[in-house]
Symmetry: C2
Subunit: 185 residues, 2 copies
DNA sequence: TCGATTTGTCAACACGCTGTTTATTATCTC
DNA sequence: GAGATAATAAACAGCGTGTTGACAAATCGA
């Protein structure tokens, strides 16, 4: 599990793959090409990954796990953190890893990854749902709306070169969500 | 341009392709497979499409053109149509073509197609933007948030089996947008 | 440090899909 | 009906795929 050879191999494969993904869609990327660039034997690739799509999914899963770890740490520090701070944590995380997020959400975006991120953001609003007088079905739609809107402007934020701060973005998201919700009370 | 043979060929190719796309991602679909199912010669496929990805994009473009035609007709009928009615037109259109939308936005969703739909919905709010006292940069973020949120709950609407009416969906979108915006005035 | 184990390399293989070409037949439009 | 256009069938080289077995190199625990 912690064999240096394995770590190195996986690292160079991922690097070469990401490099290719910046230039063309995954459908045009071949295993052969990844391995040549990474200077890794093709047989070695196949011991770790099924194909380039499997590779992408593993990369995405690692990011999702990492975000969750990042948020969990914060959650433990003070249990009753207000959603605004939590949203800021997410926008902060995105800005720190802007390269990868821009790639996976915009340029050669993957809808499955997008949906995972939407889930994570949606979860931040769950504690609020329970304190409201909405029926559950309506509440789900409203919070899904907010989560998708949030991811949407994060995408736009990256496209525009991240000129606003993570805090400013969190504030926009928070304002839109609070007032949007208010209309259903 | 209006040759019956061409129309027929393109039709059966599209049908077979859509059928395959319901069962597996586009990356696992081969040109050979599409042609065998459609009972069309592979050489014929290549006279019309570059590959299966080109085929998908042409299908998506046709849908986008069709939505725009649909909305334009309505726009002409009464020039000052309120956005709520316009949004309802869109949700109506989606419900009429639920099969394809569910496929292209959910099951084997394509992020490019999703972004086109977001653009169309975002455009419905442009007339409102101009009447507001927001600075342009903020306004763009806000309307992008709304458009993404709208597409997001439309996706959820389809996933949940479209139990709400097109009108009800339009109302949720409209409420969320109006009150979200209000907080920035 | 040694030895067993694991990992990566190399070359080779059959396989299937690709994209294009040719000659031929079928169908359409006017 | 005649000329134009489109679809077919068969064949082709080319390329990436996924797997194999023998070998070399690096790692880890004792």
């Amino acid at each position: 599990m912690s064999d240096r050879r394995v770590k190195y191999t996986k690292m160079v494969i991922k690097e070469s793959f990401i490099k290719s993904l910046r230039q063309k869609p995954i459908s045009k990327i071949t295993v052969k090409e990844i391995c040549e660039d990474a200077d890794v034997n093709r047989a070695t690739f196949y011991t770790h990954y099924k194909d380039q799509y499997d590779l992408l999914q593993q990369i995405e899963n690692e990011i999702i796990e990492d975000i969750n770890r990042y948020l969990k740490d914060y959650d433990i520090q003070d249990a009753k953190v207000v959603p605004l701070d939590m949203i800021e944590k997410i926008t902060e995380y995105v800005s720190k890893n802007a390269d990868v997020f821009d790639l996976l959400l915009n340029l050669n975006g993957d809808i499955k990854f997008q949906q995972e991120v939407i889930k994570i953001i949606g979860n931040q609003f769950i504690p609020i749902i329970e304190n409201e007088k909405l029926n559950k079905a309506d509440a789900e739609y409203i919070y899904h709306f907010i989560a998708c809107g949030a991811v949407g402007i994060i995408q736009k934020w990256m496209k525009d070169g991240m000129k606003k701060s993570a805090r400013e973005m969190a504030e926009i998201i928070f304002k839109m969500s609070n007032n949007g919700r208010a209309s259903f009370e």
